[in-house]
Symmetry: C2
Subunit: 198 residues, 2 copies
């Protein structure tokens, strides 16, 4: 084994045609918060169906125009990297899109996630420069499905709000949570519980 | 602008010879916690000197043997990715080294960071599978130098401990904090404060 000097995260091959179809009329326009959440949820479900990772999807878009800037699905098992959560992937790809580590440098940007971010992704949100966060399922839905959300500040909504971020939770919660519970029922690998503790 | 489907994080060219020199007798053996911290601090200082990012360095090693598995420096500005903190880079490269998203699958692994992790990196620690965290400077040192550590659970030490992680803080704190304060004095770009708020 030798030391590595770079790592790469790559969306699975199914994502590009899936998004292309959605944007070409296969899905509703990305105009309302609910329509945007539908795409995040569809990504979470398709990620499970394709066997490329856990039941989580996220997108980053221009909050005003709805232009898509970044796409993410959970890629922990397929990429071999524990940081490859849907939100981290979507934020990083959006930063490649705007060519800046600070998304705020481009336009007011919005992160739409099929599930409330875990402790790591929550910590990543302010550093990314997004100005708005929209969540579907919440931590109780994730935990019911066997996922560990990590240890967050108890007042995380207020923390983000104090940093000037708009946060909207429980957008299409039922639809988002359904993907989680179906995944749990089929006993998918719960990727972010440490194996030693399983 | 078109949507991106992959992103890569690459250590700067200076890292490989720097580490080679260290391991070949340029630095002390990676046997004690203090010796390991010396390397993390040296990486943080060299990262500033080389102009490749903020004053933060981290390594991941086999806790028992001291074999180096991953190296990280802060690469936010040079990589254009807000997630490219030293700890995230070191953990991800270590996961490439052991070829598993769960470092615990290989051996008890240790993350040694020149500074207490920010909220994002702290959230990443349990998902990575490391069994031990060693920190040099603390959040007050980072904040004195103008860095934002994010909103962490107030009892984060206890949270990690409850998850079975060993945590050691303030290892060579003075030496680690000196790199931060020197960086602040030369008015380096404080990369993780949002520009809008500066």
């Amino acid at each position: 084994m030798s030391l590595h000097h770079h790592f790469e995260v790559r969306l699975p091959d199914w994502v590009q045609p899936f998004i292309g179809h959605w944007l070409n009329g296969g899905g509703p326009p990305l105009d309302t918060t609910e329509h945007r959440m539908l795409l995040a949820i569809a990504l979470s479900a398709e990620n499970v169906r394709q066997g490329t990772g856990g039941p989580f999807g996220a997108i980053v878009l221009n909050q005003e125009t709805g232009q898509l800037a970044g796409i993410g699905v959970n890629l922990v098992t397929s990429s071999g990297l524990s940081v490859a959560h849907a939100e981290i992937v979507a934020l990083s790809l959006a930063q490649r899109f705007v060519e800046d580590w600070d998304l705020a440098a481009a336009a007011p940007m919005q992160l739409v996630s099929s599930c409330e971010p875990c402790a790591m992704c929550l910590g990543a949100v302010p550093w990314s420069g997004v100005s708005s966060l929209v969540c579907g399922a919440d931590f109780t839905d994730a935990e019911s499905a066997g996922f560990d959300e990590g240890d967050k500040p108890s007042d995380w909504l207020m923390s983000l709000s104090n940093r000037g971020l708009e946060v909207k939770v429980h957008v299409l919660r039922e639809e988002a949570a359904k993907v989680l519970s179906e995944y749990a029922q089929m006993a998918g690998e719960i990727y972010n519980s440490r194996r030693m503790q399983e």
